[in-house]
Amino acid sequence: MEQNFKKVYVGVELEVSPEGKVRPVSITYVDGITYEVDRVRQVTRAHATKVVGTGIRYSIVVKGKDTFLFEDEGKWFVEGHAEN
């Protein structure tokens, strides 16, 4: 079954190293629930394939699941399921 996605802007808690390296620590979804980021696998510039937009793409693991978190001009978004 084809899954619909929508661009969901989220709040992000960041950890910034003395060298200026940014690492997302947790994501706060629109419904107010905060999810811890277990791991950041990769950081690269990429465009979102499921929703519109481009930015710095963080390949992250949340609750054992792989997902993408994007940063574009200071705003952060994820590819959320349309029914959410």
Partner: protein
Amino acid sequence: MSRIILHCDMNNFYASVECMLDMSLRGHPVAVGGDVENRHGIILAKNYEAKKFGVQTGEALWQAKQKCKDLIIVPPHYEQYLKYSKLAREIYADYTDQIEPYGMDECWLDVSGSTGVMGSGEKIANEIRERMKFELGLSISAGVSFNKIFAKLGSDMKKPDATTLITESEFKDRIWGLPASDMLGVGRATEKVLSSYGIHTIGELAKTSPELLKRRLGKCGIMIIQYANGQDHSPVANVDYEPPIKSVGHGVTTPQDLENSAEVWNIMLALTQDIGHKLRVYGKRASGVQIDIRNSELSHKQWQKQFEVRTNSSSVIAREAFRLFERSYSWDLPIRSVTVRAINLVSAGLPEQLNLFENCEHIDKMERLDETIESIRDRFGKYAIQPATLCGKNTKMPTDREVELKMPTGMVM
């Protein structure tokens, strides 16, 4: 050693960005169209689906709709185009510091110094193409050659999302059979002249006697023959190269035609507010003014005059432009668009011979007045102070466009 030049052309740039930003547009015929109410109702760009119906850039929106009734016309989002154009240049900057833009969606890159580390020109072009798709979701066509003209020609040969290589050893076989008008430097007027001599292909142009074309086309005639023979030695400008400012102009198409001189004066006054500001920012003074008037039948004429004393005063430039207009335009037809250009610019600090017969004191006074107006605008905004005649609602000046556009004006020679 021959150079390795890339020309990267983002395919259907405006339309591609629109489809990138709105998934529902994908797969449908889409065109970016100007604002009909402001009388900019033409096709600015279209995607490949729209192209299949014969929709052409520059035609009226209603004409395009007649060709393709399901055509989706979206308004332009210049700030997004600028953003993606900048992101593309950031990718190019990973390969060279010689990046010369030609409009928002095209760039030349000289990668001669990078091939030792990054591989052949073709490999670099392919890598850039892949990165563009992955990072920005946009496709480009790349031409790889030993000069800028052939690199540009190459990027036009295969579209979309392709790389075309034109080498020094095989360029005659590959491009000499192409129409001369495909080559940069051969526009519609030049093509007409070439046709009158029976020159239709790049190969025929290459073999033409320079004297013959020099008589009809001057220096340009010799230049295009050299181009056709692969003798373009123009460098790719450095990424931080700022071309010298030769003129500062501003023009508008008014929402309704201008019917009398008073309306033209209002428009000229509004236009020169920005011109004076820019001259100040660039540290320049104008030695003359040029006006371009397009009438309601879309034919246009241009006039220019020199100043006795150089100036950067908005009001002086406006007055001179209006005087020139008054004595040149015969009011056969109402006016559709007006452009005012400050020309023959020189550095503001350059000493100048005073003129006994010109009231320099008055010009000096006007410039000081403009400086004061400028400082008020700096502090309180552009509309904090303006000529009283522009405050009313009867002016036909259209509303501001927020984004400044840089269109291709020519390559660095």
